[in-house]
């Protein structure tokens, strides 16, 4: 088989391979630390204490993990456009205030360890905080 411009072709293939494999080479087969969002803010601990050690959210933890983005969109439309601000949970049938700043973040006051932990890992950049104000990060307690 005759290949024209052998040198050029193969060197460019090498360059392409180097670029394509660059992320893998840099990572070196190491696995990045798995995100570990924390739900141990003082507010949540207090809630748990008052409710017999039960940490309760709007819906179950597993469900929230997968669907919170849709839920937040639904909440946004409901509050802003229909002025309906109460959400009845399908899990615990309680009424929750639909609000990011005055709902979610009142308990999950640890944006860094709760939101950013996974969002950074997955490189998703929701624009919530362009307008909404995040709670002041508390000093991390070394345990």
């Amino acid at each position: 088989m005759k290949i024209y411009n052998k040198g050029l072709v193969f060197s460019l293939i090498l360059v392409f391979a180097a670029i394509a494999l660059f992320p893998f080479l840099v990572q070196g087969g190491r696995v990045a630390a798995k995100p570990d969002p924390k739900t141990d803010t003082p507010e949540i601990m207090q809630y748990a204490q008052e409710h017999g050690g039960k940490k309760e959210c709007v819906e179950s933890k597993e469900w929230m993990r997968g669907e919170h983005m849709q839920l937040l969109n639904q909440w946004r439309d409901s509050v802003v456009r229909d002025d309906n601000r109460g959400y009845i949970s399908n899990t615990n049938h309680q009424r929750w205030n639909m609000s990011l700043q005055n709902g979610c973040m009142k308990c999950h006051s640890n944006k860094k360890k709760f939101c950013d932990e996974c969002h950074n890992y997955l490189s998703v950049k929701p624009y919530c905080w362009d307008c909404h104000i995040q709670p002041a990060e508390k000093e991390e307690v070394k345990s």
Binding site: Q70, L71, S78, D83, G86, Q101, C131, I133
Partner: protein, 281 residues
């Protein structure tokens, strides 16, 4: 490879069946799979409700400049409205954002001035804000439905949908809308680095959206009256349901002479200015 007509049709048929199957499969997955349950939502129980929110402004109750300032400050602080200043301390008109502000008679009611009116009348201060029109021009022109009417008469806006085209600003005959030319969080009153402070209960806006007064929808939802009404001198701003024959504002409008800004445009403004208020209520 060559293919005769019969073979081609076989392959095409099988592929389309597979393709259709995949569509059906993914559709059933959508229906049966994990999905949001229909939302169960409700209004707040203690929310103030009305068929048509409206306001009566009694200018005779605004006596000093301080009365105006404290009303404006109350609104702008609660809603994180940026206050851009020039180095010399004056308001930077280029970036100004206002929800409720002070203007004079000549500007608030153009065309109503008379020939020999004295300067003190033309310069008489007025408190102006979004008129929450019945037939708002801003809502009509908005290409993304980012601004709309709530059932209680408030002209609301959805900052998530605003694309910053500023059609609404061009349409509004009252200049009630302001554009965020730069990130509002850079303003001295909001930026913690410049000694500012935000209200953590309310969002700021972002660069590139239009904002205005919302009649404090978020406060009405928790049973509070608008911030300006609370902060203004007693009886200066009256807030109530225009459709309720027994409401205070309805009685005032029924008995006293009130004027509205540019009613001839047909927008149906809901802010009534009481003339010669005095001891009405």
């Amino acid at each position: 490879m060559s293919m005769d007509r019969r073979d081609f049709l076989k392959v095409a048929g099988i592929s389309s069946i597979l393709g259709f199957g995949a569509t059906v499969a993914s559709a059933t997955n959508l229906i049966t799979g994990k999905q949001l349950l229909p939302p169960q939502v409700e209004m707040n129980k203690d929310a103030l409700r009305a068929k048509r929110w409206a306001m009566v402004v009694d200018m005779s109750k605004f006596k000093t400049d301080e009365d105006f300032q404290k009303t404006i400050t109350a609104c702008h602080t609660i809603h994180n409205v940026p206050d851009f200043r020039k180095p010399d301390g004056s308001v930077d008109k280029k970036f100004e954002v206002k929800w409720i502000w002070q203007t004079n008679y000549e500007k608030a009611f153009p065309g109503m001035e008379n020939q020999y009116q004295g300067e003190h009348l033309k310069d008489m201060p007025f408190m102006v804000l979004c008129n929450h029109c019945t037939n708002p021009a801003c809502v009509r022109v908005c290409p993304t439905k980012a601004t709309y009417k709530l059932p209680d008469g408030v002209t609301m806006q959805d900052m998530h949908r605003c694309i910053g085209c500023r059609f609404c600003m061009a349409a509004c005959p009252y200049g009630a809308r302001s554009f965020n030319w730069i990130d509002p969080r850079r303003a001295a009153n909001l930026d913690p680095a410049k000694g500012g402070k935000v209200n953590p209960e309310y969002p700021t806006r972002t660069k590139g959206v239009v904002e205005k007064c919302t009649f404090c929808t978020e406060r009405l939802a928790v049973g509070k009256i608008p911030a300006c009404v609370e902060a203004a001198p007693q009886g200066a701003l009256l807030f109530g349901d225009l459709e309720d024959p027994n409401s205070e504002i309805r009685k005032i409008i029924g008995e006293k002479l009130t004027i509205r800004r540019k009613p001839e445009l047909g927008t149906g403004p809901a802010i009534y200015y009481l003339i010669g208020g005095g001891e009405h209520a």
